[in-house]
Symmetry: C2
Subunit: 430 residues, 2 copies
């Protein structure tokens, strides 16, 4: 256990001591990985029952259709009904995809680029277009924009959601066609958009008539505490504001059942859903309905879903606590860092003194801990202040998370001390 | 049973008799569907074992990786090895997708349109481009071109494959970027490309340096007889001709295991595979590896695959025989039709007198038999001579297929008789 931090001691003065402790950590020969928000094997074990389902002779959906055969591009009605509450949409406004909601987001962007969307005058690829990106955000969202040449306009996150003054300002540009949002337990900051933010997103004027809000509700069910946020229903809010076609709502069971073999969902207005199904129906004769049936058999109902998520919480909450406790023990009062204490989701956001994030990653790697590359939380992988780190405590064991958190705290202190020595403040900026 | 046809009687003279027999068929109140190449429930039952696999606690791939979790965009090594022979490529040149090879073809086209392909100067969407389409062909291939505004250039099929003089001529145009091919048991004609056709496709000069051959080997294993065609390996042929990046080879287990819950494959040159994986890795964190493991457990090895296909053949061959026997009984010597006797694949091609195909479909519908719409075998759904019909005998029971074949034969005769009465020849053209 590290000694409790003494706020009165100057970080610079502690440099030699920190260096010595770092050498000790190096000598431990750790091999730890906190790069990605992957469920742990114990979490996957919660859905072990899926592995032998649906079981022999069980291949009929409630409609009587044979889930083994071709067809059914929208997905099974009972699965759409089961996730209707999660998505905040009636079953007829939901489509079920294969195992990746990222793939559904990709496909919506690809169809928009190649074909255009309802309410638009032309395929998006005909012009230079841009997306609004709350920052820090999800690297795979940004990678989709980057790979297709969609410009990214950063907007800072606040505890209530993205800075809406900035969003409204940018949205007036007709070249701005979309915006990313992880509205609940945001990746990586853990923020949940408040009612006013949702209302402003639904009601704001946009320069483009075919503006689309990519509402990636990846963590709709992923609570770490008893405080359940009541995220306002974006489909209802937009419909009430007379803009029903603005949002595209995504979710998946990747962090509910099996990360690589779950179901993905799109919920949208009737016009958007017709558009999606027409495009998806050219791409494929239909999704894997047998995996849908498997999920229906395993989850059964909303109660089954709730109990499963409670199991995840029991496994995850101690890991998150281990991280934030270790950071508090080592860093409280030093001014060297600020971190989130998320009520849900998959990440802890750690902010360090400007210019220090990539050094923390480097130092951590030096004692066997792989962290998400600094900058990953920003468009083009560039954090202009090099101060943002995303910590992913889900996959390693609790013991490994505890060891990793100790490494992170020490590396942060050491980087801050180095920064101070080099003439910086060694303090995280406000 | 219809009376054996009398070649000497004029079709026109038989019109009243045919009309009376048609009225009898109508009175039977049939409800039959031969529209799509769907496996029958009995065929799906052959893979019943998949429904309880991989089974509890079995989630490790040979590499040790956990098939339940994220990752592995290329697919499990053991599955790539298992299908290496089918695809004619080493496992490292194979990627495994989710349940639809059509989706892989779509994605390759979408990536090419939005990003370009190796060897190309720009994304395909920057220009008006065209694909060569052997005709008759697969309607879903044509629909992909149509939805993305890719022009289609028809080339007639011959018993040896597409008319290669026409193909070589068209391929000289730099706007021609691709070509569809179902090289074995072609949809719908059943032809298998001969060695010279494959060699010419591999060796021909193309105006576009980034020309791609979309090699949809959908029926690689789908034999109906003991005569096994030896389709020349297109990847090897193109590599030998110094054009390794020309072909993109597709296959799936949709008609091997489960039509809606199988695996799809892409095999390609190292450069093409890197390109595909880089694009697919932006779209999704990886395919459903658990379904891959399920298939590895169920199929086991090439022998398992072979035995399974033998089971399909036992179910399918009698249905195909029922169709061609019924056509022969009713139509031989009348000159009113010509049909394929396929050695594999999923379709019987029926050619009727010019201008009669849509009338046959209409007449069949009138007595309760749904056929694929006339024109579906041609780009834009337009068969300029209105003479081509695709029959799909796989899904209905043998008894239903027998009844349907009788309907088709009679409707063909009746349409031909009507054609003769209206001043046509009533004869299928040469």
């Amino acid at each position: 256990m590290p000694a409790p931090p003494d706020p009165s001691r100057d970080l610079q003065a502690r440099h030699a001591e920190l260096r010595a402790r770092y050498a000790d950590l190096q000598a431990r020969g750790l091999r730890l990985d906190m790069t990605r928000g992957k469920p742990s094997p114990e979490q996957l074990d919660l859905s072990e029952g899926l592995l032998a389902l649906p079981g022999n002779r069980d291949h009929r959906a409630e409609s009587g259709e044979d889930a083994r055969n071709y067809g059914g591009v929208q997905g099974l009605a009972e699965v759409r009904a089961l996730f209707s509450g999660v998505l905040g949409a009636p079953p007829e406004q939901i489509a079920v995809g294969n195992n990746s909601s990222l793939a559904l987001m990709h496909d919506c962007i690809a169809y928009a680029l190649l074909k255009g969307v309802p309410g638009g005058a032309a395929p998006w690829s005909r012009e230079e277009i841009r997306f609004i990106c709350p920052v820090p955000g999800y690297d795979r969202h940004f990678a989709l924009c980057e790979t297709y040449g969609i410009g990214m306009l950063s907007v800072p996150m606040t505890p209530r959601g993205p800075d809406m003054d900035a969003v409204e300002d940018l949205a007036r540009d007709p070249a701005v066609r979309g915006m990313w949002a992880v509205p609940q337990y945001a990746n990586p900051g853990g923020e949940t958009y408040d009612d006013e933010t949702v209302a402003r997103l639904a009601g704001m004027a946009t320069g483009a008539p075919d503006f689309r809000l990519f509402w990636d509700n990846a963590y709709a069910l992923h609570h770490l505490t008893d405080r359940r946020p009541a995220l306002r229903n974006i489909l209802e809010a937009c419909a009430a504001a007379g803009r029903p076609d603005r949002p595209l709502v995504f979710a998946s069971t990747s962090k509910v059942t099996l990360a690589g073999a779950g179901l993905a969902f799109l919920a949208a207005s009737p016009a958007n859903l017709r558009w999606y199904l027409a495009c998806a129906g050219k791409r494929s004769i239909g999704p894997d309905k047998l995996n849908q049936l498997r999920h229906a058999r395993f989850l059964r109902d909303a109660g089954g879903l709730e109990r499963l998520m409670e199991g995840h919480r029991r496994l995850l909450a101690p890991k998150f606590r281990a991280v934030t406790d270790a950071l508090a023990r080592a860093l409280a009062g030093t001014g060297a860092a600020r971190w989130s204490e998320p009520a849900g989701g998959y990440f802890v956001l750690l902010e360090v003194p400007d210019g220090c994030a990539s050094r923390v990653v480097e130092l951590a790697a030096g004692c066997g801990l792989a962290l998400t590359p600094a900058g990953a939380t920003h468009p083009y992988g560039r954090d202009p202040r090099d101060r943002t780190l995303r910590l992913a405590p889900s996959y390693p064991s609790l013991g490994e998370v505890e060891a990793a958190a100790e490494v992170i705290a020490l590396c942060t202190l050491l980087a801050a001390a180095e920064n101070r020595q080099a003439g910086g403040s060694g303090q995280v900026s406000g």
